[in-house]
Every structure is written in structure tokens, then in C-alpha cells.
Assembly symmetry: C2
Amino acid sequence: MQKLEETIALLSRTPATLDALLRGLPDTWTQRNEGDKTWTPYGVVGHLIHGEITDWLVRTKIILEYGESRAFDPFDRLAQERESAGKSLGQLLDEFAQLRAQNLDELRKMNLSESDLKKRGKHPGLGGVTLSELLAAWVVHDLTHVHQISRIMAYQYREAVGPWQAYLGVLHCQGHGS
Amino acid sequence: MQKLEETIALLSRTPATLDALLRGLPDTWTQRNEGDKTWTPYGVVGHLIHGEITDWLVRTKIILEYGESRAFDPFDRLAQERESAGKSLGQLLDEFAQLRAQNLDELRKMNLSESDLKKRGKHPGLGGVTLSELLAAWVVHDLTHVHQISRIMAYQYREAVGPWQAYLGVLHCQGHGS
């Protein structure tokens, strides 16, 4: 069971975590992917920005206003390719931090009660979900992408580590859909 | 192929990344594990400290001084249980940052050449390795533990996310040995 203040505590850390990890790093780490059409760390930050604009808090409001009578809009997982065009990683990190801070400020001001958290909405793919589940998924979505970024960066040194490859768990991660 | 300055760039970020992610978070996130004898984020920081004291830079010096004539000492993967006893997470984060900064300072002062990076040492489990591989493994070891910490934290909300479990990759990660 989640507590709302624990959820907000973790959500508030993600921009500074990615800033500390990524800002100013050589492109080797931030602009390379895992082959084919996989994502770069740069692309992941763009994806997180799109989520702040169109997903988590927007869906919170849809649940509170419409309940299950109106399904959420589907999430565009490729939007960042358009929206990040021409922006530096530093700009994206700033934008993510600003949007997340605004969204958490708005979330806190909603003063959600236990009964609010039980309210139900309709996900276009998953069906019925609760507001509590949506907010927990927001956190775990952040963690999925921290997990992914660490894996993308490790991939760049998969050969450089030589025999250590056997010992380093992140090099054996298959991505699990992200 | 790694470049030394790229390696050092990433190694220098890890303490601030973990600080931004973990300092002051509720114990729900930092003191819980994935069941049985798995590690907590708190335990992982202790493990990283032990690596700074006994592993990466120590092994660098052994390679430069002894080559393959002296194997590295085995790494104690449980040392942090003794060494972290009684310390707060904030103390451990400070200690890790200080040790990492000292070690990178010392590494920079070594002015390692391309031929130094090709020098060979003897790992007690893996056999012959190069200094270049050791330094790349130091980076990927950091990333393995960022990957692990994000997974341990996500695990705490594995039920709270409800149907979103299907979409969130980090909840499907099996750990791959860490």
C-alpha cells in the first residue's frame, strides 16, 4: 500500500537524479542507444517530459472529474522525437525539472483524501484502474526509466569490460519492454 | 573502446546521482529489500564504499606495480554489513562521495598512458584482465547498482501499481545476479 507522501517524495527526486547523472556528460553516454530503434538517455528525458505534459496529472484530473465515464487519451510513446527536436539535453533536463515541480505542486494542492485515491478511471489499454494505482505507476514509471538509462549507458561499455561482463548484472538485463 | 576521460566523467557522477535519489527519502524506499537476503539501497551504498576502499583503485595500483605476478585480493561482498553498522544513510552518502572524489583525484594524477591501459593483471576469479577492462568495469559496476537500486525501489510498489504492472519494465527485471 502506498502513502501519498512517499509517492511524492520519490517523484520529487527524479529530475535532480537525472540531472546529476546526465548533465554535461560526453555524448558517448547520452546520445547512444542499444541498437536498432532503441532509445538514448536523451530520448528518455524527452519521453518523461511528454508524460508530465500529457499523462500523469492529466489522467489524475480525468479520474477526479469524469471517473470511468471517459477513458484516458492513449499515450504517444514517440512524441519526444518531434518535441525534443533541436533542444540540448540541458534544456530538456531544465524543462523536466520545471514541469515535474509544477505538477507536484498542483498534486499537493489537490489534498487528495483516502476516498479520492480509491476513485476509478478507465485506461484505454488496461481497463479499470484506481487513482492510487495511477500515482504508484507514475513512480514506477520513473524508476523504469532510471533502470533503462543505467542499462543503455552500461551497454556502451559491454565490450570494454572484457571478462567482467560475466559479473555485471546490468549487462545481462534484457530490457523487459523498455 | 573506452576513453579515460569518458570513464572518469561517469564515475564522478555516481555519488551525486545517489545523493539526489536517496538522501532524506522515507525508509520505505531506502531500507527495504526484494525479500530474503537481498540488498536494500542502504546496503548498496555501503557496498560501493567498500569498493572504493578495497577494490578499484587498489587493483589499479596492483596492476601497475605487480602486473600478473600478484592476483588481486578477492572482494568481500558482505563487508558492508559490518562496516555500515550504526551509520545513517546520509553518513554513507557523504563517505562514498568523499572516497570517490579522492580516488578519481588520484587516478587523474597517475596520467595513465595508452600503454598503461594495456597492462595486465590477474583477477582471482576471472584470470587475466587489462587495466582498461578494470576501469570500464568500475563504471559498469556503478551502473549495475543504479539499475539495482531502481529495481529494489520499484519492487516496493509492485502491488500498488495494479494493472500497470504489465507495462512497467523494471518490475519484470529478474536481477541478473545483483
